[in-house]
Each structure stands twice: as structure tokens, then as C-alpha cells.
């Protein structure tokens, strides 16, 4: 068995999108509390969304704001008090102070450590496990061998991003509000691409993500058989079609892998993924290389023999 999850920031997206591909949902947008309708800053909307998602049989995690300052702590504490009576399955936290706060409040929920929390080592995972953290997103900058080392040397489960834009940074201020006039309602859900020569980035306001989509479809089988079971697709500010199509492609692939089918990549899915990607694909940092490169046989990737990849990525003794 495996788990496939994604973030659903608002009630509108939850209602309008077919989420049947996903087992579980991170409710809320952790990058900015001012995202219109953000489920993690509107307790009333959160409750409605949670019950809707539960009716669909989804696991539901509340995703808290990633970079809270002192002034944010009181409203987050109120949100958590409200959440304590809800049937949540966990809380995603990107800030170590909030891990402490949840522990102090004795909330009955497992904690998932988000990618902005900068988890780089198994020792940090072990320390945080004592404070209630059960699942971790390793920092995207880690290689597969490092992620696997954490997975096998700490009691926490590792959540692996397998598709979507890579979170590259988070800021104090909203880039969009600095460059565009208008309200958050008018500005927030449009795509903002940044270019410099051959480089591309996408801006989400306070967060900046990769221009290319991370894509691990061709490595999914080896990841699965190595023991990874908890997978995540990053879909913040993506279209309804993106969330549905990419989720379905990976769900089907994972089900085939689970059944022992080697030929798990449906050729039509390659075309669909390409259609949905504005600036192409990358593998992130998993193969010890710059995050924007794509190593592999698909999408015109850089061809490195599987042996070489295997030697580099799985070289340590388990």
C-alpha cells in the first residue's frame, strides 16, 4: 500500500476538483496566510472543507503557515484550539516553534514536518519524533541517497515529492503585491513567471518555486521497491486539470507498481504531462546535480546509464 497526497489551499478548489486520485489532502496554503480563502487561516472554511473531504474518504491534514512571526502566534493558537475538536489526521508544520506549541497544547494529532522546515539530517528527525513528528518532508536539496539514509535511520516516515514545482524559497514579503496593484483576490491565483536568460522561476507571492516541474515517473518503480510509500505531488497555484491529471497518472502508475507490473508508464501520460508543463521537467536534486536538470530517458533528458545512477545514489550500506 502507498499514500498519495497534495495541498488543497481553498474550499473552492476542493469543491471544483476531482480529487479521487489522492488518498490524503493537506488543507491550506502554508506559503501565505493572506491567500484568499486559505483554509489554514479561516477556521470556518476549514471545518466545511474537512467534512467535505472526509465524505470523500480522504485523510486530512491541516497545513499551517510556514513562517509565523510573534504577531502570528496568537491567531495560529486560536486556529489550533478550533482544530483540536475536528477529526483531522495530522498537522503539517514548517516551523519548529509551532512543533513546540502543538506539543505544549497537548493536541492529539501527529505532526508532519513540511519542506520549509529545513530537515537535512536523521538526527533532527529523531529529535522531532520525540516531539510528536511522525512524517517528514526532507529539504528538496537532499539527494536520494541522503533521503533514503534519513528514511532508514530515523523512526519518522519520509514523504517524497514525486511531481510538481519544487519549493525553492520563502520570503517575508509578497513579491506580487510589490509589483502589481490590486487586492489579493485580484492578484493571487494568476501565474507569475520570472525569467533571466535561460532560467525560469515561478512566483507564488511569498514563495518561489521552480520553473520546471519535478518529475520522477520513470524512477517511481525503483523508489517504491526501495521502500518509499508516502508520495506527494506539489500543486499549489496549478490548474484544476493539472491537479486531476497528474494525480491520476501517478495513482495509476503506483497501483501498477504495487501489483508488480514493470511496464507501469502509460505512454499517453507522457504527452499529457508535457502539455501541462510550461517549462519542461527536472529531477530536482535527487541525483547529486543542479535541481533544474533532468536525468533520464524521458522528455529528452540527459542520458546517464542506470548503473551510474544506481552506483551514485544507492552507494551506502544499509
Amino acid at each position: 500500500m502507498f499514500e498519495l497526497s497534495t495541498h488543497i489551499p481553498t474550499l473552492r478548489i476542493l469543491k471544483e476538483t476531482d480529487l479521487s486520485a489522492y488518498h490524503s489532502l493537506y488543507l491550506g496554503d502554508p506559503t501565505c496566510p493572506h491567500v484568499p480563502g486559505n483554509l489554514s487561516s479561516h477556521p470556518d472554511l476549514l471545518k466545511e472543507a474537512l467534512y467535505l473531504a472526509k465524505e470523500q474518504g480522504k485523510g486530512c491534514y491541516l497545513s499551517l503557515y510556514a513562517e509565523p512571526r510573534n504577531k502570528d502566534l496568537p491567531w495560529i493558537e486560536r486556529l489550533l484550539e478550533h482544530a483540536s475538536s475536528l477529526p483531522l489526521d495530522g498537522i503539517e508544520v514548517h516551523n519548529l516553534g509551532l512543533v513546540r506549541l502543538i506539543k505544549k497544547m497537548n493536541l492529539p494529532f501527529p505532526i508532519h514536518l513540511g519542506s520549509f522546515a529545513n530537515l537535512y539530517t536523521h538526527e533532527t528527525a529523531k529529535l522531532l519524533h520525540r516531539m510528536g513528528v511522525t512524517k517528514v518532508f526532507p529539504n528538496p536539496e537532499l539527494s536520494l541517497e541522503e533521503i533514503n539514509y534519513i528514511r532508514t535511520h530515523a523512526p519518522t516516515q519520509v514523504i517524497l515529492q514525486i511531481h510538481g514545482k519544487i519549493p525553492l524559497g520563502i520570503s517575508e514579503n509578497c513579491f506580487i503585491r510589490e509589483y502589481r496593484e490590486g487586492t489579493c483576490e485580484e492578484l493571487c491565483f494568476k501565474p507569475y513567471w520570472l525569467a533571466s536568460g535561460k532560467w525560469t522561476l515561478k512566483n507564488l507571492g511569498r514563495a518561489t518555486v521552480s520553473g520546471k516541474d519535478l518529475c520522477l515517473i520513470e524512477y517511481l518503480g525503483s523508489l517504491y521497491w526501495r521502500g518509499f510509500r508516502t508520495f506527494y505531488i506539489q500543486t499549489l497555484r496549478e490548474s484544476k486539470r493539472y491537479i486531476e491529471t497528474i494525480g491520476t497518472i501517478y495513482r495509476r502508475a503506483l497501483e501498477k507498481i504495487d501489483q508488480g507490473i514493470d511496464d507501469y508508464i502509460d505512454q499517453s501520460s507522457i504527452g499529457l504531462m508535457s502539455e501541462l508543463s510550461s517549462y519542461g521537467f527536472c529531477n530536482g536534486y535527487l541525483f547529486r546535480r543542479s535541481g533544474h536538470r533532468y536525468i533520464g530517458r524521458l522528455f529528452g533528458g540527459e542520458r546517464i546509464s542506470p548503473l551510474e545512477v544506481r552506483k551514485e545514489e544507492w552507494s551506502y550500506e544499509e
Binding site: 512571526r69 516553534g97 538526527e123 529539504n139 519544487i166 525553492l168
Partner: protein
């Protein structure tokens, strides 16, 4: 003024450390080769750190060793051996970023002071409580924090606070950016087996300063990713009032003469503030500081230009 505040200066080389001590720094921080948030050319081999530590002990000063990269989980044993060596040499404190590493150091070497690096991005009261509870002694406050936030932290959390006197506020929160390594990243091991992670400011210290490149929006409209200069000068009396414990001068990459000048400037200012409080003529000091800042900016701009040039041309990365 509430307490005696200490002045921390960079030790980019033994000569710089000595100049800083003589100019009035209470302590210097040095980067262990491959382990700090700067490139190798501004870091030091262990034996040079040992000699700086001896010099510090002779002069009644202190040394903090920065091991504040987000190193690999596979390097944890190497890290602990390094820490053991510095502990045996009587180094006073370490600057760290990884919470798991901090916890292990405090468990195994309780006499070593642990300072939370600015790269750990401790930005609220609960963060500070978290770090205090795992045993750390001092937290370096990110530049984003206001005087009021720092005062609130000092009021409610019994932990030392260190602030930068001048720096740059990155486009993102410090320690929360992997844009540089997204565009160019190389693994490179040194003779000790430490990976320098070229291209990652969090892991190896070499930042390509992507945010300083020329950016356009999708329609071609020029834009820039905000990266402002941070100068704490006017806040210093308030920092002292708030109970800040340490003021940090950044700049292992600057010239020794410039560091000597900066340390001397702040030493004189701090001594006068300690004696005369808010009666000090800050405007006169500001004029003097503006001259120093021009030299600092020239050295920084040259460096940024070189770094971006190297990236664009994909030139070999420096060791």
C-alpha cells in the same frame, strides 16, 4: 543600558582574527573548512583555528567555530569527530544550524556553548523556546526581526540574542533559499571526506546570488528580486536597552584593513554608549560609518559581479 554587550568579529584568516582582537573585538567567529556558510577561501583548516584559539586565550578573548552548514546526514560522524577535536582544544562555542546536531553536541559536550546560526531562521518566541529547551545558549537573530520582536523575545525567553550590525536581507528568509543550487550545484569532497556542496549557500556556503541577476516578468517587464542592505546602526541603543547580548560584524570575505576599521568604529561607539547612554551623538558616528560603508559596498559589489560572471560562463567553481 541593561548589560555588557559583546562585540563579535569575523576571523577569515589568523591575521584578520588578530587585527579584530587588537581593534577591540571580544570574540571572533571562524569557519571550519567545508563546514561554514562561506566558501573555502574564507574558511580555515583546523590547525589555524587552533592557533587563533590559543591567541584568543592569551588575550582573554573567545573563539566561536562555525559548523553551520546543513551538512549531509552521512557526515554526522565526521561532524562529531570535528566537534570533539575543537572541544579538546578548549574552543568556547560553536555556531550550528541543524537542530539534531545541536542536541547531540549539548548531550556529549555540555561545556561547549551552542549558538543557533542565523541560517536556522529562528523568527518567533516559540522557535526561541524550542532551541532553549534543547540546550542552546545563544541565537543569532535573522535581520528580518524588528527591535520590538527582539525585545519581546528577551522579555520572555532566557536565551542569549546576537544581532547583525550590517548584512543583506536576502530575497527569501535566510536559510530558506535553494535557488542557487537549483541552477548550479556540484558535489565536491575534500581530503577529509567533507562534501563542500558547491552552489548551495545552506550546505556549502557558495551562493551564486541568483536574486541579484537581471530578472524580467513573463511579458518582458524588468523586475528585481528584493535584496536590501541591512544596517542596524540606528537600532544599537535600542538593542542595548532590549538586552541584546552580542553584536555581530559580518565579513570574512572583506579585507583585513576594512575589518580593523569596522571593529574599531563599533568598539568606540559601544564604549561611549555604555558610558553615556542615549546622550551619544549618533549623527557624528553615522557620518563616519557612511565612509566605511562605501568601502564595504565596493568590496561586496566586486564579489557579486565575479560570482554571477562565474555562473553565467559556467566557469570552474573556486575551492
Amino acid at each position: 543600558m541593561k548589560n555588557k554587550i559583546s562585540l563579535l568579529a569575523p576571523g577569515g584568516s589568523p591575521e584578520m582574527a588578530q587585527a579584530a582582537f587588537l581593534a577591540g573585538a571580544d570574540a571572533v567567529y571562524v569557519g571550519a573548512l567545508g563546514w561554514s556558510r562561506r566558501t573555502a577561501r574564507y574558511e580555515l583548516p583546523d590547525q589555524e583555528i587552533r592557533s587563533i584559539n590559543r591567541l584568543a586565550q592569551d588575550m582573554g578573548k573567545r573563539v566561536r567555530v562555525a559548523l553551520n552548514t546543513n551538512f549531509s546526514p552521512l557526515e554526522m560522524e565526521l561532524f562529531l569527530k570535528k566537534v570533539e577535536r575543537f572541544a579538546q582544544w578548549g574552543v568556547h562555542g560553536l555556531i550550528l544550524t541543524d537542530p539534531g546536531a545541536m542536541f547531540l553536541v549539548k548531550e556529549r559536550f555540555p561545556h561547549l556553548e551552542v549558538h543557533v546560526s542565523a541560517g536556522a531562521n529562528a523568527i518567533n518566541l516559540e522557535d526561541l523556546r524550542f532551541y532553549r529547551e534543547i540546550g542552546v545558549d545563544m541565537v543569532v537573530a535573522p535581520c528580518n526581526l524588528t527591535v520590538e520582536e527582539i525585545a519581546e523575545i528577551k522579555r520572555y525567553v532566557d536565551v542569549g540574542i546576537e544581532v547583525f550590525l550590517h548584512s543583506n536581507t536576502c530575497f527569501t528568509y535566510l536559510g530558506k533559499c535553494i535557488m542557487s543550487s537549483y541552477f548550479r550545484y556540484q558535489w565536491h569532497w575534500d581530503q577529509e571526506g567533507k562534501n563542500h556542496f558547491w552552489g548551495s549557500p545552506n550546505r556549502g556556503g557558495y551562493c551564486h546570488r541568483i536574486c541579484k541577476a537581471q530578472w524580467t516578468m513573463e511579458n518582458g517587464e524588468p523586475t528585481h528580486l528584493r535584496n536590501d542592505m541591512f544596517l542596524a546602526f540606528s537600532n544599537i541603543p535600542d538593542y542595548l536597552e532590549a538586552g541584546v547580548d552580542c553584536l555581530k560584524i559580518q565579513g570574512r570575505e572583506y579585507s583585513i584593513d576594512l575589518i580593523r576599521e569596522i571593529v574599531s568604529f563599533y568598539r568606540t561607539l559601544l564604549d561611549e554608549l555604555t558610558q553615556r547612554g542615549k546622550a551619544v551623538d549618533m549623527a557624528a558616528y553615522l557620518t563616519q560609518l557612511q565612509e566605511i560603508s562605501k568601502k564595504r559596498d565596493a568590496q561586496r559589489n566586486n564579489r557579486t559581479h565575479t560570482v554571477l560572471q562565474e555562473l553565467m560562463e559556467e566557469a570552474p567553481l573556486p575551492v
